[in-house]
Symmetry: C2
Subunit: 174 residues, 2 copies
DNA sequence: TTCGTTATGTTATAATATAACATTATTTTA
DNA sequence: TAAAATAATGTTATATTATAACATAACGAA
């Protein structure tokens, strides 16, 4: 996940150097939470304690996390929680574009650019699990055009690329 | 799913007219099975009765099917079957590129062009479930380039576009 | 035929997600 | 403010998807 602020939200995410984002700093998490708070406020939605807590957990995770991992963390935090607890919170966050869900491994990660709705491409490392959200408008536009040729109107694009990340490739080549 | 033979395996699948493929004809199924037989033979792999039967079921389905649906059908056919029965057969077929798995809805569909390995784009109708495999080399190439900018080596691309198919859009607009 | 390998059968269980209904919290309206 | 309506959460049960582990059977090579 790449965090806003440190770079423009264009093609090149700050994530191109992997080290910089393995462990999001507490400031970055705070920033995302602040953005979410503002965004929910604007939309007249309740950013409840539970929803905030789940978003925080997702943000703090250095990698996409599973729902049941979040459930464990909620319980460890002392809160009474069951699967619907976390799934409902995740559903809310997904609807608001604050998190993304990766279909290929059933995990959730914080959106790097929750400001505007967008389709994203995810680079998922099969070795270390590190996952990077990249915004390549060109790709999505091209997909939309191609789908249009088949008279198909895209509602949601799931583009998940699995492979070796830079670091793992280097380690692997040695 | 679009069937080979009726058109070249390029951008435009025969699938662009949806009606032509809702119910694959028995000839088309036979053709796919024959291709699979040949392909396994070439690779010195055993295209066992179970594997053939599962591929047939996937081919005959007019839409991508779930593993447990296949399991039911296997049982209805009189065969003793449990989840591993179908998952193992599906794993084999996936490895050989004879079927694809859709991560967004946990379903399986026969590959339209099992001859050569490929990355494909899937157009999944959220209304009727109809799913079309399209081969737009351009998209995959572009994805590969974009990923390359992040020093990322793609092993597998999952590109699944959910939306309204031509027919459903027409019905919807009225 | 014998042996090693591969595939399948079988039972149990893991992992992911939702249904249904009760309770609590919040907002709206009177 | 009080009552009613709405939204969120708690709670229990269950559905859905997938795999682990070990036994048996089929197959292929020697
Ligand atoms: Zn995003
Ligand atoms: Zn990696
Ligand atoms: Zn294919
Ligand atoms: Zn449709």
């Amino acid at each position: 996940m790449c965090y806003p602020g440190s770079a423009t939200m264009t093609e090149q995410c700050p994530h191109s150097d992997m080290t910089s984002c393995t462990l999001p700093s507490s400031e970055q998490v705070t920033r995302l939470i602040d953005q979410a708070t503002e965004l929910c406020d604007k939309r007249n939605l309740r950013f409840t304690r539970l929803r905030k807590q789940v978003l925080e957990l997702v943000c703090k995770a250095e990698q996409p996390v599973g729902a049941y991992h979040l459930l464990d963390e909620l319980r460890e935090s002392g809160r009474s929680a069951a699967p619907p607890t976390v799934y409902r919170a995740l559903d809310f966050l997904l609807e608001q574009g604050l998190v993304h869900r990766l279909a290929t491994n059933n995990t959730y990660l914080a959106c790097a650019h929750p400001q505007q709705p967008h389709a994203a491409v995810f680079l998922v490392c099969s070795q270390c699990g590190h996952t990077q959200e990249v915004h390549t408008g060109g790709v999505i536009d091209q997909l939309r055009r191609q789908a249009g040729q088949f008279d198909f109107a895209i509602e949601h694009a799931s583009v998940e690329l699995t492979g070796l990340c830079s670091r793992c490739r280097q380690l692997h080549e040695q």
